[in-house]
Subunit: 411 residues, 2 copies
Amino acid sequence: MSTATLHPIDAGSITSIPGFDAAGVAAGIKANGALDVALVTSNRPCVAAAVFTTNAFKAAPVLYDQRILAENPSGIRAVVINAGCANACTGEQGMRNAEATAEAAAEALGIAPGDVMLMSTGVIGAQLPMDKLTRGVAAAAAQRSSSIDAGHDAARAIMTTDTRPKECAIRVTCEGASFTIGGMAKGAGMIHPNMATLLCLLTTDAAIAPDLAQRALRDAVDTSFNMITVDGDTSTNDTALLLANGTAAAAPITAADSLAYEAFFQGLTHVLTALAQGIVRDAEGATRFITITVRGAADAAAAKQVGMSVARSLLVKTAIYGRDANWGRIVCAVGYSGVPVDPSRVGVWLGDLELVRAGAPYDVNEERAAAILEQPDIAITVDLGQGSAAATVWTCDISHSYVDINAHYRT
Amino acid sequence: MSTATLHPIDAGSITSIPGFDAAGVAAGIKANGALDVALVTSNRPCVAAAVFTTNAFKAAPVLYDQRILAENPSGIRAVVINAGCANACTGEQGMRNAEATAEAAAEALGIAPGDVMLMSTGVIGAQLPMDKLTRGVAAAAAQRSSSIDAGHDAARAIMTTDTRPKECAIRVTCEGASFTIGGMAKGAGMIHPNMATLLCLLTTDAAIAPDLAQRALRDAVDTSFNMITVDGDTSTNDTALLLANGTAAAAPITAADSLAYEAFFQGLTHVLTALAQGIVRDAEGATRFITITVRGAADAAAAKQVGMSVARSLLVKTAIYGRDANWGRIVCAVGYSGVPVDPSRVGVWLGDLELVRAGAPYDVNEERAAAILEQPDIAITVDLGQGSAAATVWTCDISHSYVDINAHYRT
């Protein structure tokens, strides 16, 4: 039993965590002149943990970070993030540009290039505009600060088709000690995580051993980012990075079976889940936030597989956009999920309306269903009637705007 | 080596095959008064073969047909197909309605109920309007004929959101003997076949043993219907049914290693491929027909998996709708297909434009790409650089109209 308590930090950001500075600047990579380069630095070396995309076409910054993390897991001092260009499918030139970015940051900050990690997001296949980027990195290094607004600027600088930044910070208290965890993320499209997703940077002042940081991050990502889908596309750049600077007064976390580790894991899961839900709420063109809970499954993996099958169904997503309680499409997606299902035991609820019982229509009250679908948050529950395992996944509807945004993304 | 020759039959339909009659009538199941009940009969018992949906929620007519096929594989005389109501997820009442439909047809035709097979398509979860349907079946029985127009009427009666019927008929000649194969199909949405897809009825006057008919149908479906996707949703009602009445002068097909079987298989594959491509061309809201060829794969299953990953990508489909040669999205979908890929060996072509060589941009000529994307038929080729296996899948773009159609399907 954990005795941890989580306290939200109002309007918190990654700079709500002691020892971290940030900046967001407009370097001219985005055509519209918006903020597009974020720099986050720590006043002391950090333990780093990360999960990356499983896509075979890993972007240059992903491959670069994997190398840095293997060589220097406890000495990270800075992260450079640019939006507008993903530096993916860019070959050897892309890797040279990644290295040059780290060198530029290292020079501006007076640290070693091997202490710098990188993330990029934007169009796939274009080379980074290195003149603009290096000038942006230098400007960000000069103006970085520990203010909350500096954290907010960084969160805005990593946005692409996002309409708002996603940030979260909390204080975790446990057995009289306390530490803080902050995070920022970007998403919107090409969202179907597999290991990690999108770009997400987490900061904490907890002191934690590298292997425990990695374990906590991986496990917390599994129940947060890996439970969301927007369009079923897993990007080439997905990265979730945790930096722990150890400045909190709390004792170092050195054992996985400790109360402190459990508190840290709870806090991390809270921040990641808030960011993951924020990404779905701000998904390209989304008008409804949909929570799909699958219960009565033989095991959690089967529950997730059924939930993701419903969450990925274009027909379910367009029906909800049309405010149509077309439960037949939900049942259909349950049926083709690949999980063995006995139709005669399946139940489906829309909110608290029991649409399907034992595989057949039960309380199909179209008027009540329509009222439920007018709400911004929609809950779908599927009971497989097989066992006691459950999983919850989050998704959104697919609207005309999604088609608009993605038909003309590069133009 | 086969010496079979395939001759297309102009404006052919299922009634181009000797011994088959058909009718399409408006029974009032569709709200707009369009044709909605098709009846196809044979003047003698037929060998029947079928493949059905793999969805766990099999519609009542699918479960009914599986029983009939097991009991009576060589004595089928009639098929009733209705559109407007899928009779899926309808419980015991749905199965009783299926049985009553077969009984009504049997009575009108003077045959046994066990000689009648069924298909339904339309909204999931609604019960069949049995008064309308039985009146429609009786009317269809009274007016059925062997005319080509009667076949065309039947093909129109099975449409839902289809904008045009899909029909094909050919004459196959082999070693001096000859026979004919005709087919009709409906599709448009909820298209992601797995075993069989949609509704498809094939007629032939070839004489063929039941096990060989089943083998030929299964194998031909694998390279036709199982190679298309519109929206990734596998329906509850998918059925492809072949009726062989054996009236052709050609000798019966009794051995899988015979020239006659090979000729039959070639002809069947031709008809099924034409129908499958017709379904994609008429997919809900589609503006582009996309052929994706994956070559250089380790085996055919891997090639299909990569092709389907690209074909299912909403981002690829919306980019093509926007006439945007966003090859990064193609590469991204190759990367997350689940097939191990070495990015440095991957090539991508749009038409004859080599966009990607060795995993990096090669000849990205946006002007030529734009001209290619103005054509109604788009070819994408992916070379994995691993082996010599290949597969071709067919899909379409996703447009605003797809969202329109599926947001308001039931209203």
